[in-house]
Structure formats: C-alpha cells, structure tokens
Symmetry: C2
Subunit: 206 residues, 2 copies
Amino acid sequence: MNEKQIPDIVIGRLPVYLRALQRMAQEGRQVTSSQELGERLGISAAQIRKDLSQFGEFGKQGTGYNIEFLSGQLLEILKIEKVWDIALIGFGDMGRALASYSGFNQRGFRIRMIFDSDPRKIGQEFGGHTIFSSADIKEKIQGSGVQIAMIAVPAEFAQEVTDNLVEAGIKSILNYAPVNLNVPPNVRVQYIDPAVHLQRMTYYLD
Amino acid sequence: MNEKQIPDIVIGRLPVYLRALQRMAQEGRQVTSSQELGERLGISAAQIRKDLSQFGEFGKQGTGYNIEFLSGQLLEILKIEKVWDIALIGFGDMGRALASYSGFNQRGFRIRMIFDSDPRKIGQEFGGHTIFSSADIKEKIQGSGVQIAMIAVPAEFAQEVTDNLVEAGIKSILNYAPVNLNVPPNVRVQYIDPAVHLQRMTYYLD
C-alpha cells in the first residue's frame, strides 16, 4: 500500500469520509453509496470513488459500501485502529479546551502529557496528568514513544517549542499558534487558526 | 476585481500570506520577497507570485514587496480592513476558549453574541456579553447585521443550530462540531476538527 505515492490531498479527505461513515453507523445505517456520501460532504461521488480506489476495492457495483467494513478499512489505512499518545504544549484557554475534549479518545488519540511554562500551572493536576514544565519537553518526551504534539502556546513561543519537540523526536504537530513553523522535512505540521478560516470566508461577503 | 472568478484555494492562501507579512512587520521588517515568504510558508515563490498576480501588481521586479503595502492590499481584498461581528453558538470548553481568544480583535473579528442551550449558562455574563438562549438565535441575529457564526456545540445539535443560523441570515459558518453541515449554496462553511487534522498525519507515522 505504501509503494505508490498517494497525494496528501487524498489522504486529507479520508478522515472526513471516515467521520461521515461513523456518523452514519451511529444513525444505525449499514450501507451507503458514493452518491450519498458525496451529498453529505459536498464532494462529488466520482471524487470519492477515485480516492477510495487508490487503496483497494471497497464497494460492489450496485450495492454500495458496507459502512462498518469501509470504516474499518479507513481506520487501518489511517493507522488509527490503535490509539496514539499526544503531548499537549500550552495549558491556556485553548490548551484546557483541548485537554477536556472527549472526542479524541473515540477517534484514535489520547493526551498523555501536558506542558506549560507558567510556574502557577506547573505541578498542578488535570484529568489525571501532572502539568510538566515546558523546560522538560525534551527530557519527558524523548524515549516515551510519543510522536504527536499539539501546540497551543502564544505565537512568539511556538517556534522554540517546535524546535524542542523536533529534537525530542516528535514527527507530527498540530499547531494552534497563529504562526508558521519551520520544521525539517520528516516532520509534518497541520495548522488550526480560526482567524485564517474566517478571513477566507469574508472575501465572499458584502 | 470580482469580475473574474478566482479559485477558492487561492483565496484560502491569502490569509496565510497576510499572517506571515504581519509577523514580519512585527519583527520590524519593511520589505520581503516571494522567495523569503515562500521559505517561511513552505510554498513555492512562483505559487505566491502567481496567486498575488491574480489581484494586481504588488511588487517590483528586483525590489520585492513592501510589507505594509502588501498587507494593506490583502486586508482590502479579504475585506478585513473593517471588523466583522460574530455570533458564537455553544459556550462549553471550546466556546469559552474562543470567546476568550484575544487574537480575533487584531485580525478583523469581534464576538458580538454568545448563545448556549444550558439554562445554567443562559443569562450569565462573559466578557461584556450576556449569554443568550439558543432558542433565540433567529430573533437575536435577524436584522442585527451579523453574517458570521462559529458553532461549538456537540455534533448532534450542529445541524439544527445551522438551520436556525441560515434562516437568521448567516452567510459564513466556522464549524467546530465534528460533523458535516448541510447548507444552501449561498452559505459557506469552514471546518475545524482536530481529530481530522491528526488522522491526516498518522497515515505517515510508523
């Protein structure tokens, strides 16, 4: 499966397909079609069929996709049939909201460590975690098996935190700080910045 | 400027360019180049030049871009030289983090109304807002001039909230609920779902 290079934009749509399939399963549904999935997602049925065909033959002509089977396949492809540990850096309002979010556990992720640089927060307990000092990022993460981090620190500290995370062996970063990060080519970053999303929509408003 | 149709993917990169330019300005910089911008953003210089050329001639061959001028142009193109009011629906952990986020004000947005369905929250004050009942979405938003909403409610309530927002005249929705929304063609939705972003990266991990 890893022999051919699949465009990242295709990979990026798979979690969205999975989310919709899991929702259908919750609704008690058993079978769906690329048409129905496409209507739910605002993506063409042809695009969905083409994306999925990169990974194998998941549906039968005329009978559609078995929701449970296709979900299971996507979990495997995305490697989230296991649970991934996450280090959360920054325990301000956003960090706290992320640490409190129950949705991660059902979707392949678990926050395992929380770091902050505020002496008033360091040493506090939250949800079974002792909040560590950001000064200890390398020490705590290195050798822990944690490969994913979420950054929720102010923009001006994000690059320094990132450098420490990369040195500690982190390979995937979800960055909530509103700034671009410089990372080596073997490290992936995804960005969440609500202002960027909003600014993309105001263009179309009057 | 609105006569030719510019691809949404180009529009989507402009806020990222703007964010980088504003950061450079904070660093005391006055001039940049598509090369430098591209290196910061992991986007090719040619792509940046091509994107910007859709809107006009912003740089001079050999001297690069004036950061303040280009930022100002992007603010105008994205229509964020003014401040947009936002209705926030859902005042749980994520809603509270969004309501507390100071970054909106500097970037063209202001939360003007907060709604929740929890009787214990309705009527409370937060940051100068009285939290309204979600039952009053239509009444409060209609005629208020608010065109943008952020949804931070549990997935199972997101579509109903959306339907009310659309009826109230909302044109842009930033959705934090982990579910796809059905909206009419004149309404835009952007999605923020950390699990989707994370699942896109686990594909590449071992």
